[in-house]
């Protein structure tokens, strides 16, 4: 990143190779929209080019790039309200040979995740799927590490409740519009 900051734009290709898939997954798990996720990933790398001078030596790069990713999404939803909370096509890709029960659980979990309020879902995606340390997440969302841990615990409690409701309800009857959840406040 230091090379990119100092003008070697072509080095950005290496960062793209390393981060575009994780960022894409960050967005698909948050928005449930593949096309939008692709657009937002492009936006992140454009912003890296534009704002590379703001990167400080010694800053954790992953936290910095996710800060940009977060702001890009918030700016996008400031212009357009989310319209696609969960596309059926966004159900997890099933690899041949998956046991049926595991597939069903995976689908239910994905639905439950999409039904979590936006802020809780984002925390889980950052900590669980992107595997960011709580310290980095705290810096990202602008609160203390202890607060992040409390919120993670609450998010998991709520996920558990939704998961149970989905397990009890007939398929397709419990979709709650995640579109009603507003994106979190931007932290700069």
């Amino acid at each position: 990143m230091l090379q990119v900051r100092d003008g070697a734009g072509e080095t950005l290709g290496v960062l793209f190779e390393r981060y575009h898939a994780p960022l894409y997954n960050f967005y698909t798990k948050l928005t449930g929209d593949r096309a939008l996720s692709e657009d937002l990933v492009q936006e992140v790398f454009l912003r890296i080019l534009r704002h590379r001078q703001t990167f400080r030596d010694g800053t954790p790069f992953r936290a910095w790039i996710y800060q940009i990713a977060r702001n890009a999404r918030i700016d996008h939803f400031r212009k357009t309200r989310p319209q696609v909370p969960f596309e059926p096509e966004m159900a997890p890709t099933v690899t041949p040979g998956d046991p049926a029960q595991q597939r069903q659980e995976s689908e239910l979990l994905h639905k439950a995740l999409m039904e979590l309020p936006e802020e809780k879902r984002e925390l889980l995606v950052l900590c669980r799927f992107q595997e960011l340390p709580y310290e980095d997440v705290a810096r990202l969302v602008g609160c203390g590490v202890a607060t992040v841990k409390v919120r993670i615990h609450r998010a998991m409690q709520e996920l558990r409740q939704i998961f149970h409701q989905l397990q009890a309800a007939p398929a397709g009857s419990t979709q709650r519009a995640a579109a009603q959840n507003l994106p979190p406040r931007r932290v700069t």
């Binding site: 734009g9 950005l12 894409y24 698909t28 997890p92 889980l124 993670i152």
Partner: protein, 268 residues
Amino acid sequence: MKCEEIAGLLPDYLQEGLGTEQKKVVEGHLESCVECREIAGLWKKLALIPDEQPSEMGRARFDAMLQAYQTGRRDEGTARRVDRGASFWSVFQWLRSPVGAVAWSIVLVVLGAYIGMQLGSAKSSSQQDLAAMHTELTNMRQMVALSMLQQQSASQRLEGVSWTRREGQLDPQVLSALMHTLRYDQSVDVRLAALDALSRHAGQPQVKKTVVDALQEQQSPLMQVALIDQLVEWRDAEAAPGLEKLRRSPNLNPTVRQRADWAISKLN
């Protein structure tokens, strides 16, 4: 230990950030508490949600964006050099002095002799210059098209599509961007315009493949009918299985199904 006390340790336990002692405490609690055990279990099960693979178009779009950005910076650099030219004003003043006048007179004589010697080959070099200018203009148009295809506003993306129509031969990156627009643009109008622009590039095998793939992906009946008509116009017999698959889709619009039947009969 109570759940409230464990709540402070559980997130660290989930990220495997506890020491041996504390880990034992949490695990002891999990054995007796169903709710906390389920939470820990769910955390592990979240791994069942697999990662998605981004499309290959992403890399092409990134390369195009990087190229456009770097070209933009080079242009800025040129503009700065022009500004710096103002500082050469003093050199110009020197050229107007008697010593300077002698110097540039000599330069002019030498230049005249050189031009005279090169006159024979002047025609061919001017043709080369024209060709170079034409290539540069083409590159610039394609870059404008690429950049406009990535705009937020649908009308700007539409304009981007219309820029691509100005070129007979499209750069692979522009072609990729156009195919991406056909499949994923949010606006039906932009997707329809992209299909129209791509219809001129049927010679490229990936274009036909993209149109056939798009047939299965598009939900808008308008778009589906346009794609079917395009495949019939190309007389693309390889599209028949794709049309057949579309025709069998359960919730297909009746008009689209009728059109697909018609297309299959035309292609067979």
